[in-house]
């Protein structure tokens, strides 16, 4: 019996890194959005926070696109 420990290990590692990375990115993006929400409530603007948020969401969208390409191909 041959158990493919290497494959199992890489599934483990990849899943862990990608999940934590994606959720972190997404949380940062959401933080940016709420900062802007707070800022606009007080009449200010937070262009940097908004740009940062869009960069984070863009990276997440790219990850989703890669996921879809994995399913299709």
């Amino acid at each position: 019996m041959k158990i493919d420990w290497a494959a199992l290990g890489s599934v483990f590692g990849v899943s862990l890194v990608v999940t934590v990375g994606l959720v972190t990115l997404f949380t940062l993006g959401v933080m940016g959005l709420s900062r802007r929400e707070r800022a606009s409530e007080q009449g200010g603007s937070a262009a940097l926070a908004l740009t940062g948020a869009y960069v984070c969401f863009g990276a997440c969208a790219a990850a989703v696109a890669y996921g879809i390409s994995l399913i299709v191909v």
């Binding site: 899943s15 999940t19 934590v20 994606l22 972190t24 997404f26 709420s34 997440c60 879809i68 994995l70």
Partner: protein, 416 residues
């Protein structure tokens, strides 16, 4: 198709029925967290999942032969054996649906196939080592991997995102959750609809209607995709309730972390080639997300019953598959008996399920352990004291408690 015998037609119909129960059973994987956190309305969620499953079914035919590959000796497999295997898998799927426990449809199918093969060709035709590497190890690894990833992600998301609140944050987590749930649905369509296509093609080859090594015919792809989408749309609300509310209470952040972890694990595993069960990954991810939040609890009693169901899936489906195969072996009337038995017991399970209906309207109400507690409280406090709302909270959990009592009954009824 001039060679299309009656038994072949029966196998195809049964395979589509299995496909239907598969979709029905696995809606929870994609949509339970989305529904329980309120990111999508229940009906909208299952409709979206159904469409993505259908789309997924058409994306490729790569996996179509996975299910039987290497697990049993394919040479000399007869349509009757496949029929018996499907009977075992369908009954197990319906039974676990009745008690509201998520379990792997693939394991049920493999179990049925193994049991039927043993009954037909002896234990030698089953490859034991493949069983360990393809079934046992993944079953243990999937929830661990997904659970750990979801737990870390949840913890991080809570400590990082303390300042993330308000409408923007709520909307953000909602969108994220829908996206990852969509990915899970799509992956499910490509995997599970194709397993049925593989089974039907295998039966067609075994019955001599299609040349060996051919791709599934178009009508097979179309009907398998439609069957799984229909099952998904009707929604296994009982399982959705267990997964979304029964195991733990999920907040949007947790739902997002859990679904993202599950989607990642499923895609990574199928890409790297160490296939993990969708159901096991999602359940593990949900529990991990539950543990990741401060003050979050996992209801281990529900989790334990789920683990037991996972352990039983393969042997139980195998047993039914083996019994069905030995009856079909008696001749054509044996096959007819099995078919009648399958229809009768499915009808019986459906009938029992009507005692306590779970559908889109009450899918988010009370998990079972909460139901036990509230019924206990309801028993202690004098009923007339309550206002109208008190009455409501007291009456809803009561049927949930009867569900806990039910699991003992159905197995006894169907193993006859």
């Amino acid at each position: 198709m001039e060679n299309f015998s009656l038994i072949l037609a029966i196998v195809v119909v049964t395979a589509l029925a299995f496909d239907f129960t598969n979709g029905f059973h696995d809606t929870a994987n994609a949509m339970a967290t989305t529904i329980s956190t309120g990111a999508l309305k229940p009906k909208v969620a299952v409709a979206m999942s159904a469409v993505l499953n259908l789309v997924g079914a058409f994306l490729s035919v790569e996996v179509a032969n996975t299910i039987s590959k290497g697990l049993v000796d394919e040479t000399g497999i007869r349509p009757e054996v496949i029929f018996a295997a499907l009977v075992g898998a369908i009954l197990w799927n319906l039974l676990t649906w009745l008690v509201g426990l998520p379990s792997s449809s693939s394991h049920a199918l493999m179990g049925g196939l193994i049991g039927a093969t043993i009954a037909s060709a002896g234990a030698g035709a089953v490859h034991g080592d493949v069983l360990v590497t393809k079934v046992l190890i993944p079953a243990i690894a999937a929830p661990l991997v997904a659970g750990l990833a979801a737990m870390l992600a949840t913890r991080l998301s809570y400590s990082l995102g303390k300042k993330a609140d308000g409408k923007a944050a709520a909307k953000g987590y909602r969108t994220g959750q829908i996206a990852s749930a969509g990915l899970v649905s799509l992956a499910h369509g490509t995997n599970d609809a194709q397993k049925t296509m593989g089974i039907i093609t295998l039966a067609l080859v075994a019955g001599g209607a299609v040349a060996p090594d051919s791709d599934p015919p178009t009508w097979v792809i179309l009907s398998a995709g439609l069957a799984i989408a229909l099952g998904t749309y009707l929604g296994g609300w009982r399982i959705i309730r267990t997964m979304g509310k029964g195991l733990t209470d999920l907040q949007p952040q947790q739902g997002f972390a859990a679904q993202t972890s599950a989607a990642t694990v499923i895609l990574a595993s199928s890409h790297i080639g160490f296939s993990l069960s969708t159901t096991h990954s999602v359940s593990g991810a949900v529990m991990g997300a539950g543990l990741g939040r401060k003050g979050g609890v996992v209801r281990w009693s529900t989790a334990t019953r789920m683990f037991v169901a996972w352990g039983l899936t393969l042997p139980a489906a195998a047993l039914v598959g083996a019994l069905a195969e030995s009856v079909t072996d008696l001749g054509d009337w044996g096959t007819a008996v099995v078919a009648v038995f399958l229809i009768a017991s499915s009808a019986a399970i459906w009938k029992i399920s009507r005692r306590e209906v779970v559908d889109a309207t009450n899918v988010n109400e009370t998990g079972e352990p909460a139901g036990v507690v509230t019924t206990a409280i309801a028993a202690v406090t004098p009923p007339p004291a309550g206002t109208v709302t008190d009455d409501l909270t007291a009456t809803i959990p009561a049927p949930a408690a009867t569900v806990t009592a039910d699991p003992a009954a159905p197995p006894a009824a169907t193993t006859v």
